[in-house]
Symmetry: C2
Subunit: 380 residues, 2 copies
Amino acid sequence: MNKSFLIMSPGPTTVPPEVLMEGARPIIHHRTPEFREYVDECTKGLQYIFQTKYRVFNFVSTGTGAMESAVANLINPGDKAIAVVGGKFGERWSKILKSYKANVVEIKVEWSTVVSPEQIETALKENPDTKVVYITLTDTSAGGVTPVKEIAKVVNKTDALLVVDAVSGLLAEEYKMDEWGVDVTVSSSQKGVMLPPGLAFAAVNDKAFEASKKIDSPKFYFDWKAYDKKFPNDTPYTAGVSLMYQLKKALEMIKEETVEHIWYRHKVLADATRAAVKAIGLELLNDHPNNVATAVISGSMDGQEVVKIMREKYGIIIAGGQEPYKGKIFRLGHLGYVTGKDVITMLGALEMTLKDLGYDLEFGEAVAAALPILREGEIW
Amino acid sequence: MNKSFLIMSPGPTTVPPEVLMEGARPIIHHRTPEFREYVDECTKGLQYIFQTKYRVFNFVSTGTGAMESAVANLINPGDKAIAVVGGKFGERWSKILKSYKANVVEIKVEWSTVVSPEQIETALKENPDTKVVYITLTDTSAGGVTPVKEIAKVVNKTDALLVVDAVSGLLAEEYKMDEWGVDVTVSSSQKGVMLPPGLAFAAVNDKAFEASKKIDSPKFYFDWKAYDKKFPNDTPYTAGVSLMYQLKKALEMIKEETVEHIWYRHKVLADATRAAVKAIGLELLNDHPNNVATAVISGSMDGQEVVKIMREKYGIIIAGGQEPYKGKIFRLGHLGYVTGKDVITMLGALEMTLKDLGYDLEFGEAVAAALPILREGEIW
């Protein structure tokens, strides 16, 4: 007997069975009062997880589409924008901005660390005409967590808008959009929200929405104005009906656990994983590690081999490194529908995998470091 | 006891139970060999339903996103494009083109008919610098079917590309992309393909793909080049995993029935519906009616009332009219997972609804006209 793969990646993440089952419900038509009630409920739940009272638009797309919306709706050709490039997803901000012919100021950050509020402050002083600052809450390719709260304080002293890619980080990290003063947050369904891929979200405050009215860049499908007209209980184009059923269910589960406990759970799972990795003599890639996925330097081992053996021999999906760290790291996810049990399963498989690769360890060492943290934290 | 609503709209359409169940399967990670096999199978099935040997790109979006891709990848600012505007979806081509700053030549067509090949020929003669012609296979708002085969002959005498929105018409109407010489066809999942909303497709031949390489319009999420790099068995951004499970299943069902029989089935269902409507003295809006949804002039009755009573009292979802025909028509869908049984159910409900509204008819008149056509056509 083989159980299906255990997904321990930065996303797509495991979908809870009760959410999966919602995906099998008969379709109802999206232009009906019954469906509008669904959309309305989902809007409220999304506002809760983004911690915002403002608009949360809901696209049928992946996170990249929501990211593009935050460029197409805020940037005219030639506008100056700061993009923090400290991993694959920061690079994506820069690429999208260049496609929209923005004047991009890149803050390049080593993948082993994250951008500091001081770096943002300096860049804003050197570029007082900056329209928008684009950052990434957790650039999972590099394993770090960006100090968004402190960066927001810096940006809010200027006229620039702050846009945060929270695609992977939402719910895994403490995040308070309105309280911190973030103008736009984008995320998607297949991460902390525990849904299949297919929906993406853009939370947009009044300041950002007002600014978007002056933007003339080509756009249609991701034009916020069209979504605003239908907000909060309808969509301008066909709604992702099955995914909205699932979203409503997942948001109910999230509300029951509370965002505070979800943030805490992810911290405990990540603490346990980090302690386990260090206990067997491996090092983390990032000095500000996030709670989404632990990026581990594979040293003398090929990180891709670790991923391959974990999947093929032990049925656990973890993630490899992306260029320039391909082969040099592997990433242990603990995002979404994950408990202490899953982390221990993953660590057990990791111990066997490393042994297979000739790495020097005693069986039980990684697990032994994780168990007391999970026990103490009461996450099992 | 109440059965769930019967959807008889131009989309979203009913999803077969065996396809729904696929949506409840556990997620697998999209960057795995197992998932690439899924994508590969889906690509082959999509090529079959588009009747093309070329690329069929697969977006997580609705049909509007795929439409936008056919503008963003083919139009530079100032490029001349012809758009046929004979309904809501032709208007959408024009709106998207204007957002991308195309020089749009609109061929305006009354909603009661469809564009002729001669009109396209004339427009192309008057505008020899036209880069792309945008048409709609079945603009369901107006109820007609465009003679794509004949239009393709006309366009192919020039250097212009032909782009067809087949969002609602694919599988309901005979359609042979390569044989007819269409360069780009777009469609989506929640129509003839019998899936929940969430996936959209762009079939792109070599001529169109080559042309796209010279286009500099802002785009990222819908940039064909990114999808081409991953074609045929992978996706540039996160794949719609659950929807791809469902797509594979639906494509298997389609292959088993064959596209030829599916086209035939839709023709019989539409013939039966049209005969029924005429038998009770009502008229069709369009003189070239399509096999997706029958647009019926509601005469002295409010078309919106017909829709409302059908839904609230009889549990059947049909569609109303869109501006400028709102209230003046109603639309009886027969698209996707529909058999003769469903058409008869719909017609029975329609007879009762019209009676409720005081319309003069004898019970059984509509059904009586449909039954022999279904029986003769062997669609039940």
